[in-house]
Every structure is written in C-alpha cells, then in structure tokens.
Amino acid sequence: MEDKLDQDLILELQAGDLDALGDIYDRHRYLVYRTALAITCDPDMAADLLQEVFLRLHRFAERIDPSRPLQPWLYRMTVNLSYTWIKRKSRWTRYINDMAERIITERRPASPHNIAERDESWRWVRQAILALPVQQRMVVVLYYINDLSLKEIAEILEIPVGTVKSRLHYARRVLKKQLGTHREVLRTVFYDTTRSV
C-alpha cells in the first residue's frame, strides 16, 4: 500500500476495487478526522463525518480526476460537510445535548475521549475554537492544525486569498484573547512536545 500513489488507488477505486478505498481510508483518516473534529469540536460528529467523507469518495469516485492530488478534495469535502452539519444541528438540540452531556459525564467511565474533554487545559482550547465563527474556524483549522498555506486554503474553500487573510486576522485576535490568558500555564504543558502525523 505504501508504494502506491493516491493516483493509482483512485484509478483502482474507479475500476471498482474496494480495497483501494480501504487503503485510501487508512492513509488519510487522520487528516479527515482531525479536521472534522477541530471544526465541529464534537468527537462523535467527527467520527460520523469521517465515514461520510469516505462514503462520498466511493459514491463520486468516477468524478474525481486522478491526475490531481487527492488531499485538497478530501479537505474540501470535510470542511463543507462539517459546515453543513454544524448549521443543521439546531440550537435547541445543542442545548439538550449539552445538558445530557453534563449528566452523562458525571457517571461515564474514563475513556481517552473523556480524559481529553475533562482536562481543563483542553477545555480552554475547545472554548477558544468555539468562540470563532464557523467560517473563521475552518481557516484556523486548515492553517494551524493542517499547516496549509494561504493559497491552498483559498483553493480548498474557493475564496480569494485576501478573504483567507482577513478571516485569519480576525480569528487570530479572538484566539489571542482566548488562549493568551492561559499562555503561561499551557506553555509548561505543551512546551517542546510537537508530534508528527
């Protein structure tokens, strides 16, 4: 699998080979899941989105141009679906979910998800992301978490580079306010512990 290029896998998928889809899934699942998670701030929704993105890849495989890189397509699909799902989730449902979440969290046994959610440091980060409007959040996630350039973000979101810059500028202001207050505390936690994908 490692030797095969995305291009070859897409061609195999277009020929009806499901194993090729499995290989693409294994290769890009981190990218899709973490992008969806960071935009939605909801691990369950991100897990559903991960499935949905690859289901769509299977459904629309014929329309994908194998000569072009696959990652931008995956990013675009993930970002668009995340945006749609967030908008679809109505406000009252969110309140009910949040309330249920609080009740369940008290009784739920510790799982990696719970640990991540309970940790006060992570909660600040989550709140900082949620403080951003969804469109700014998408730019922030692609820029800070996925390390994409402004030009790449502009192509994925199909907006001008200037718009990306302005969204990033305003988002940075909010993040400075939200994350900056915990900066000293967080620095001790995160200092020099960069991981790779």
């Binding site: 499995g22 294994d26 699942r29 499935q51 980060v125 800070y144 390390d147």
Partner: protein
C-alpha cells in the same frame, strides 16, 4: 503540502499551532472505521432508499414548478384586497399603496392611470 510563505507569521502563531495540534491529537481515531465503512457501502448498494429520495425530490420539483406556480400566477390578476373593501371609501389608510390611496379618495381614474403606467 508545505506552508509558510505567510507574512507576519509570528510567535503567537507558532504557539497557537502547537496548542491546537496537541488538542486535536488528544482524541483517538474511532475504532473499526474501515470495517464500518465497508458495511455502510454494502448497505448503500443494497438500499434503494437514496434513489427513492431522488425520485421524490424530482416529483416535488415538478409539482411545485409546473403545477403550483402556474396556478398561483393565473390567479394573480384577481387578487382580493380585503382591507380596502372592508372600510368605507373615505377612510384613508396611511400604509396603503399610492393606488389604493387614490382610489380611496374617489379619484379612481387617477388610480387606474397610475396602475396602467400612464402616470
């Protein structure tokens, strides 16, 4: 994909990037995702409901655009203004249109002229 041709990418950006990455990496990937994907694909190929939804959406579009809209347009000229009819002609409503005001002032011809685009 390699980035950073960005202008003004400063210390805060590095810090924010590190914090956000660590937060995102704290969440483990869902287990059995690949197997679940194949199950969903198998269900999708068996299940006729997505096609049924498409057919229903097309029918709805046809009904709305080819039946309801023409009927609605056909009845436009005979629309009935109940609030004009329910008061004596000398009662002038502030929020009425110019045509209705002219008609209420018993200058129906003026109203007709305005309505027909002569004025």
């Amino acid at each position: 994909m390699i980035r950073r041709e960005v202008y003004k990418h400063g210390a805060f950006d590095n810090y924010a990037s590190r914090v956000l990455k660590h937060w995102a990496f704290e969440f483990p990937l869902p287990v059995n995702g690949r197997a679940l994907l194949f199950v969903q694909i198998a269900q999708e190929t068996k299940d006729p409901i997505p096609w049924l939804n498409v057919v229903l959406a097309i029918l709805r579009w046809f009904f709305h655009n080819l039946i309801l809209k023409p009927i609605d347009s056909a009845f436009q000229p005979v629309l009935y203004f109940s609030d004009v009819d329910s008061y004596p002609a000398y009662v002038i409503h502030r929020d009425s249109s110019t045509i209705h005001l002219l008609m209420a002032e018993q200058t129906i011809s003026s109203g007709m002229m305005l309505n027909s685009g002569i004025v």
